[in-house]
Amino acid sequence: MSRPRHQATVLISLLSIFSLCSTARAADSEGCLNCHQYRGLARIAEDASTVKRFYVDPAYYTQGLGPHARLKCTACHVRAEVEVFPHHKVSPIDCTRACHLTENTKLEVRFSHQRVGDMMRASVHAADVMDKSNQLLGSPLRAGQANCLLCHDEPAFARDKAAFARQQAPIARCNTCHDEQLPIDTRSAYWHVHARSQPARTNQQLVKVCSLCHNNAKIEEHYKLPNAVASYLASFHGKATLLGSDQAAGCLDCHVGQGQNVHQMLSQKDPSAPTSPVRIADTCRSPTCHPSAGQLISSAAIHLNLPTSRGVEFFIACIFVLLIIFTFGPSLLLTALKMLQIVVDRKDESHEHHLRLAQQLMANPAGRRKLTRFTVHQRIQHWFLVLCFTTLVLTGFPIKFADRAWAAWLIAQFGGLPIARLLHRWAGAFLIAGFFYHMTYVLWTVLKKRKTENKSWFKTIWELPMLVRPADGKEMLDLLLYVLFLKKKRPLGERFNPEEKFEYIGVFWGTFVLGLTGILMWFNAWTSRHMAGRVLTIALLVHTFEAFLALLHVGIVHMATVILSPGVFPMSPAMFNGKTPAEELVEGHGEMLLAVEIEMQGALAAEAQHHA
């Protein structure tokens, strides 16, 4: 037999023998897994409605997947009950019972969770509170079962078994020294430390644990508590959690004091609680959260329940509701009624004439040039705005709608929340920069016009084509009466009709409001040093409502006008080549059409003569 073959034979023989020994021998010295390792070991309970599962994952013990892997079964279960076959009915487990841990030295060390029990007794989650909560929940735990089970199940170093498969290399490194010279159970030791170097549960898992009681109406009523989970998930921290981020503060980040553990959680009313009014600022300013924030950050509302709050936040929200209804509402109505005109095939009596005129003018190169409504420069500015706006919507709205499945998906496409937020901020910064650029462009246009036409400042500005004038209000009213079938004649519309002018004003207002509130939140540490933390809460509210208003206008009204409307579908080319389709010119820019006709009268007559 060749040497490699011989080696292989010996190796495999040894491995085979090893594989056939009980791998759980070390942890399961009582041999319980001989039977309990079978998944199918289960039966219907005597109550005929529940299933009793006796399966215990052998990997938990053989691979040391959790801190309890070093315990014998009888450390928790009463030996007298389980050493009899068939087993007696097992008593509920007392988690504070003293047990013996098998150390690496093979010595057994006495251990107990009694200390945790003592901590709990002094905490807001004392045994009587937990018992009462169990009762209010409808007694999901059986009589005598430890109320630890309300929050805990079998503790594991990592729920994801793939994580164990990935962590072979560091364990192998530990074995360099700790294999023979300084023998320890490297796998167990590694995982013990590794698992505790990070939170045992993700923020989402924590929310799920806490929501058991803190989203329960009976418990809230009994203890006079607000729905902390719902209000948390409505906050920025909660939304980040919903989007899968563990960087934002979870429940324990605020409610567990520094150097303490979850079992020592105190009521907000307790002055030593990290959430008490006297300590909350320090909790927010902890080194891992907002270390450079000011003392005033504490007044920012994390658990704001907008519908029940009657403070300034609710007042501002109501103002925005009215603002949205009275700005978006008429625009939506106008858009819908304009569509209705097409459905019923209603056209102004001058429509056919104007359409022929538009086609005639557009057939002429000079006429086409004169009918160009947007210069190249303006189109570039518009596309810049489109790019910034789209980026802001795609990166911002998943945060607003964080509880929807698509939001997490969309954020994942950007590479996670931190990248999405970075993109959002920079898109916002570019939008503000674009706004200032546009203002400079307008000023430059005014200066140029004033110089060439020699008019006063006031008159030059007054004649700016996008400026809203009193006549626009009348034209808007006429249009509304026309689409409501109350007027026969449709208003003609200038180069920029009143709807476009109002949208333009909306961009000014939106950029200002969104920019200001966005900057306040971006530089939240600065804000909290100079203003009340409540400003941040208000800024977030205003930012989201204004963004929603902008999205409604652009996403519904503007899109319906420039993309979906039958006259321009699949898209108006005006922002590509500056040419407005004839149908759109007739419907919304008749005055411009007539003005160009007058200008071009001589040329058109000559052309007609030439054709004749």
Partner: protein, 362 residues
């Protein structure tokens, strides 16, 4: 103030006004445009309604906590046994039901072609609490068809592995073949590349049956990418030999069944399902009784005992021919635990602390 009736009249006239005859295509195009405009009108109105209602809810109603955060189980519900996607039953769960402390791994192998349980007549955990050791009998149900214990063995039939999804005869489960392969050192030593190819092919199947178990998947990757007999390969084989037995505990995606000719089992279960269907839909007591008798005609009054397979000489099953490794076959043929269970079935109790620690039932 405009007259509303006059307005309505105008609207009617605008919609249905008379026109001069026009070409068909022109009319069709116009109709399409109008239909499209109507669609846009509805879309815009619907989007507007959604937006305003969302806005109102945001300000005046507290948004409920998403369902995934509030769905928790207090106990292992029997009703969930028939659910296709119950967490902790057929899919992994975030945590165990509150009353339950230990593992939340899926524990019940689905058995869609079995004639007795999917029909609804018997529970997926069919062995009643009234009998002794029902849990032991239930775990045997994960790799034995009901007839193996409840029907008399027939000399003309043969015990074979039947796939749980197609009810057709299959080779022994990959995990058993792989255990056997790892036990036969010579085969590996004689031709390591060939043996590695066999091991990886079998392991691929095992990973699939084990629900893409990540630790087995990692081992598969190591074996596929390393040279046979290299240190990495040996380490992976070592780990595989240690981990694999835990995956040979009954969830093979196959069950043992007796059949005389290929397709017997599939036919008999289909027949059984049909009878069950007729039974459940019949209100005639005589017909129901007759159907019960037909479907249970081949059943033994007293099922076979543990000893038939684990103590009798020769045992009812030829383990080696069913794919078990020789070592495991020897253990299964003479299982002390089976004798113990048999005594328990007879109503005896035992206090044998030394049993805790034997190598039985690996």
């Amino acid at each position: 103030m405009p007259d509303p009736m006059n307005t309505l009249r105008k609207l009617w006239h605008a919609v249905f006004r008379r026109r001069a005859p026009r070409p068909f295509l022109h009319i069709l195009k116009e109709l399409l445009v109008r239909a499209y405009a109507l669609a846009v009108l509805l879309l815009v109105s619907w989007a507007g309604y959604l937006a305003v209602s969302y806005l109102m809810q945001t300000v005046f109603l507290q948004r409920p906590v998403p369902r995934r955060f509030v769905e928790w189980q207090s106990r292992n519900d029997k009703a969930a046994l028939r659910s296709a996607s119950a967490p902790g039953l057929s899919t992994p769960a975030d945590r165990a039901p509150l009353q339950h402390y230990h593992s939340v791994q899926p524990f019940l192998q689905p058995d869609p072609r079995n004639g007795c349980t999917p029909s609804g007549c018997h529970d997926p955990l069919p062995h009643s609490t009234k009998m002794q050791v029902p849990a032991f009998a239930n775990f045997h149900a994960s790799f034995l068809t009901c007839q193996m214990c409840h029907a008399a063995p027939d000399s003309s039939s043969r015990t074979v592995w039947i796939g749980i999804n197609d009810a057709e005869q299959h080779q022994p489960p990959a995990v058993l073949q792989l255990l056997r392969q790892l036990e036969s050192a010579d085969q590996i030593g004689n031709n390591p590349p060939q043996a590695n190819a066999t091991i990886t092919a079998l392991l691929r199947d095992v990973v699939k049956v084990a629900g893409n178990d990540p630790s087995l998947g990692a081992l598969l990757l190591q074996l596929e990418t390393s040279e046979p007999l290299s240190p990495v390969w040996r380490q992976a084989i070592d780990q595989l030999a240690r981990d694999l037995p835990a995956h040979a505990r009954g969830e093979y995606a196959a069950k043992l069944a007796r059949q005389t000719a290929p397709g017997d089992y599939r036919r008999s279960t289909a027949q059984l399902a049909d009878i069950a269907d007729r039974y459940l839909n019949s209100s005639d007591a005589t017909q129901r009784k007759s159907l019960i008798e037909t479907s249970h005609a081949s059943l033994l009054k007293e099922p076979l005992t543990c000893l038939s397979c684990h103590a009798d000489k020769p045992p009812l099953l030829d383990y080696e021919s069913l794919g078990y490794s020789p070592t495991r076959a020897r253990l299964l043929e003479n299982l002390q635990l089976a004798r113990l269970m048999q005594r328990i079935r007879q109503g005896q109790q035992f206090f044998i602390p030394t049993l805790m620690g034997t190598d039985d039932a690996k």
